[in-house]
Every structure is written in C-alpha cells, then in structure tokens.
Symmetry: C2
Subunit: 168 residues, 2 copies
C-alpha cells in the first residue's frame, strides 16, 4: 500500500468509526487528517483534502480545539491560521474520555441525585424497591466517575503498568 493511500484509508475509516461512536463523522475525519499530516494545515487545506465546505471545516476544527485535540498554529508573515493535532495518543484518549465523562456520566449523576426523597411511606415495598434501584445506579455511576478521574489524571505508564500487574 502506498503512503497516501494508507492515509486516505485511515481518514475514511476514522470517520466511519467516529460516527459509530456518536462523534460527528467530519470531525473525526478532520482529526484523522491532522493526525497523519506531516505539517500543520490551513482551513483551505482541510477543505480541499476532505472536499468539505468552509463552514463545515471551520466548525469542526473549532470543536476539535474545544476538545483540546487540536491547536491553532500561527505562522509568522502569514494571515492564515494553521492547525495541528495532539500526537500523543494517551493525551488524545484522556481528552476524549474527559468529554465523554462530561457528556455521559456527569448528567447521569445529576439526574440521579434529583431523584431522592420520594414522598410516602418508606416501608412501602414499591417505594423501597425504586429507591434502592436508584441508589445502586448512583453508587455505580459514582465509582465509574472516580475511576475515570483517576485515568484522566494518570500518567500513561503509571496507569497501564499498574493495571496490567493487577489483571495478571
């Protein structure tokens, strides 16, 4: 396989994966493009490489910057802005984890916490069953949140080496 072919392949596949992940397909493609680019790219480069509109390119690059996956690069004597992706895969993963935690876990805990204090007899079987179910979900979500926090803060080697020791 030729290098350019492989890059194309990677970009397309990353896009498909992204959509299976609930991440916008174009955002995933822009990310992939910047990941395998040998130098920072401008909005025009991105538009051209992915055959997408200016608005689309701009929007997705900005989302990627908000996720902390892409940085803006200023080149002296050039009006255009250039963009470059974080290349350390552990950092990429923790940043994605952080976003998913924020979008998935945190709202869940928020909702669960609003669901305490049911009116009526606490000894009533129905009330008890419901409260206990919600509590077990809450407890679980709390543990998951702690785990993700640890992973997000962890240094790569520390985390994997400890984990592998643990599961051995």
């Amino acid at each position: 396989m030729k290098l350019d072919e492989a890059k194309q392949q990677f970009i397309q596949s990353w896009g498909v994966l992204g959509s299976q992940w609930g991440i916008n397909r174009t955002m995933a493609q822009v990310h992939a493009l910047l990941l395998v680019a040998s130098a920072p790219l401008s909005t025009d480069n991105i538009m051209e490489e992915l055959s997408i509109s200016r608005g689309n390119a701009n929007m997705n690059v900005r989302d990627l910057m908000n996720w902390g996956l892409v940085d803006k690069i200023i080149v002296q004597g050039d009006r255009k802005e250039y963009f470059s992706a974080e290349k350390d895969i552990w950092k990429v993963a923790t940043k994605i984890m952080y976003q998913r935690k924020k979008r998935e876990l945190d709202p869940m805990l928020k909702v669960l916490n609003q669901l305490t204090d049911i009116e009526g007899d606490k000894r009533n079987a129905e009330v008890k069953a419901f409260t206990e179910r919600i509590d077990s979900i809450k407890k679980f979500a709390g543990q998951a949140e702690k785990t993700m926090d640890v992973m997000i803060k962890a240094e790569e080697n520390w985390f994997w080496s400890s984990f592998l020791k643990l599961i051995k």
Copy 2:
C-alpha cells in the same frame, strides 16, 4: 416528589442520556421503564406508558433483548409476552460495555491492522512518522481492549476492590 413523578422523571432523563450516548432514545426509555417497573410489562403497557407505536415498542424491546438487558417472561394462561429488565447494575454495565467494545474498539483494531506495510523506503521520514503513529494507536487500542475484556469478565466486588486498592 411522588413515586410516579420520580419514575417519569427517571425515564425521561434516561432517554435524554441515551441519545447523548449514541443509544436510541426510545430504547433507553423502554429500558428505564422496565428498570423501575414493579412487574414485567407487555408490549401494550410499554406503548401506553411511553406513547409510542406498536412497531417501535416491539423493535426496541427486541434490541434490548439482543443486548441481554431485557428478558421475555411467559405468564401461564396469558397469550401476551411480558418483559423484564436485568436489575443488577453491574451486569447492565458489563453488557453495555460489551456492545460498545464491539461497536467501537473492535472495528478500530480491524482498520488499524490493515494499515501496515507501507511501500517505499522505511527510513523515509514521512513513512516512518506515519507507521509509528499508527503503531502507537494500535498498541493503545489493544491495551484498552484487554482492559475491557477483564472488566466484562470480572465479578463486581473483585473489580472494584482491586481498583480502589490501586488508586488509593
């Protein structure tokens, strides 16, 4: 808050969360409904409670059964089928993890493995940079997969107690 109100609240919120997760909103609502129901429900019950069509109810219940999150219950002397959700939250979580691994991680590894063997000089800086980047992603995804496999197979107490020891 009244019990029925709290249940409604939980169902609606679980649905919203589901869609933020890339899980079909109705599927999440059906799941939530069955999670807090005090007895198994029929398709008609589900249609009524969630104000959805028969086709929709049927389809989502079947998806939930495929995920292993819901079981069909047969009641003697009743033609209708009833449905009941897995209540053990750890089992629910591992089943969801399994589906996500299948949809997200496995295809990623498949793609990455196709991207080896780039033609041309292996000492060429561009080729080298690309290959190394793909390899680091592959290595990472492989670790993540192993970790999820461990979690999916793990018994609840074993997993949390080990993990908490680790992060302490």
